[in-house]
């Protein structure tokens, strides 16, 4: 408990130090404000886009547009990767059939095939959501497969001796057993799809926090770029904290078996 307090305190001091350094560098004009805008300028830019919006849309609208894309892609990934992963994890036939495709597309940079997706699905939200979905699917699927394969055989035996049939094994044993790995997969998947977000909003978008940063860079508005990046980072931390909170609530036994 005390260690946790020290850890938080040290992190806070470290962040404050970097902020102070940032303020010092800019207030003494050691660097060109175009490269590093001052904290006050970034704050002003933040207030400005918060109050007046950016390019015709409110900041909230941009945020919600991005979160909607992320959220739909993620819901789709959860709904497909978990059942498929459960089946693949317990059937080497299905696993062997699916693995080549997943191993093939997983390491590809999303931008490489994004144009194809736009050609197929149009320039609307669906191509963006599908790109994010592909980014989230692979790590999630791989985590579920690993989780299922790590279920001890004795646990399956015990369940069968208590009357669980194959179908009930999935819902009552394999899924809960794989939950710790699924949560790890969820956190990785969110990280990967979040990084893909800016790429997804690069093509034919007029909304989204990623688009806002990209658009601001065309006009060298480094203050807005900074404000946007900081906002993106804070949102990512908030999402991750939420997932970890869920994990503690749902999988309190993780690592204590």
């Amino acid at each position: 408990m005390l260690k946790k307090f020290y850890s938080t305190a040290l992190s806070a001091i470290s962040v404050l130090f970097v902020l102070l350094l940032w303020w010092l560098i800019t207030s003494r004009h050691w660097v060109n404000p175009l490269f590093v805008p001052s904290p006050s300028k970034v704050w002003a830019a933040f207030i400005q886009i918060f109050q007046d919006g950016y390019k015709g849309s409110t900041l909230l609208h941009h945020l919600l547009a991005s979160l909607f894309r992320l959220g739909s892609a993620f819901a789709l990934a959860l709904a497909t990767a978990i059942p498929l992963g459960l089946i693949s994890g317990s059937s080497f036939v299905v696993r062997s059939l699916l693995d080549p495709f997943i191993e093939f597309y997983r390491p590809l940079p999303p931008l490489a095939y994004y144009t194809i997706l736009v050609l197929w699905l149009g320039i609307g939200d669906s191509s963006k959501i599908f790109l994010l979905y592909l980014a989230a699917f692979a790590p999630l699927y791989i985590a579920v497969v690993a989780g299922v394969r790590r279920v001890p055989l004795d646990r399956i035996h015990a369940a069968r001796s208590l009357g669980a049939n194959r179908r009930k094994l999935f819902a009552h044993i394999l899924l809960p057993s794989a939950l710790p790995e699924i949560f790890t997969g969820i956190r990785t998947a969110i990280g990967v799809s979040y990084t893909t977000l800016v790429a997804a909003e690069m093509v034919a978008a007029i909304s989204g926090i990623g688009w806002m940063v990209l658009d601001a860079s065309k006009f060298l508005r480094s203050d807005i770029i900074f404000a946007g990046i900081i906002l993106m980072g804070l949102i990512a931390i908030a999402i991750d904290s939420f997932i970890r909170w869920l994990e503690r609530r749902w999988v309190p036994w993780s690592g204590k078996e």
């Binding site: 001796s161 009357g163 078996e257």
Partner: protein
Amino acid sequence: MIEAAIDDEIWKPREQSESAKDAVALNSVSLRYGGKAAGNTDVLGAVQLHIQEGEFVCILGPSGCGKTSLLKLVAGYEKPTEGEVRLYNQPHPGPNPKVGVVFQHANLFPWLSVNRNVQFGLKMLGLKRSERNRIAIETLGQVGLDSAASLLPHQLSGGMKQRAAIARALAANPALLLMDEPFAALDAITRESLQYLLRKLWIETGKTIVFITHDVEEALLLGSRLIVMKGGPGRIEIDMPNSLNRASEPFAFARQHLRYGETREQLLKALRPSDQSWQD
């Protein structure tokens, strides 16, 4: 008086004859992992074993003698390479709730509370929630775990985990209970309290129990019948009734019996590797 109660034929091997009251019957069962292909050695070779309803069979044997494999055959986790396993005069239907299993590590479901673990078998049977809960509370009472019902398995001590595992197996009301060295990992005091509990449950419920152990004293205290297995391939070396075990008598009866030391020595001798000379 005690002397007179013991028949002198305890070393006479039991006859393995088919009987209508057989809970388990292994007819010339052999097991070879990886199938019949050459190069795969037999884990069990032509084992003949009949267990009657209500018996408490303790199977002793050195590690690697095939005693766990034998239990897996009876549980239905493995199918015999040759021969037949029958339960209650029927071909083995595979793992089912009539055959309860308790493992060496408690093997509880870590995401379920103790109460929910005990309810698991009842849930699979499709019982109503209120009924499940009633049976779970009753069974937890039987094993002395009433107060731990809402805890998760990782919050339990080793002994409590095994109590919960026994309760989980019992709640589904199996006719046959298979136990694979369930107390091996426990400290001496906890082990003894669980031995008392198991003996009490056996006397109260009259279930057929097959109990694997490498502890000779445990077998002498618990078993109504003792089997010693030898490996390479696994076979039954000794099979005898345990006259030291009386349902009506406490453990001390067996421990203080004149025959206790002698029987213990005989079993230990049978368990020792034959290719080594042993000096006292």
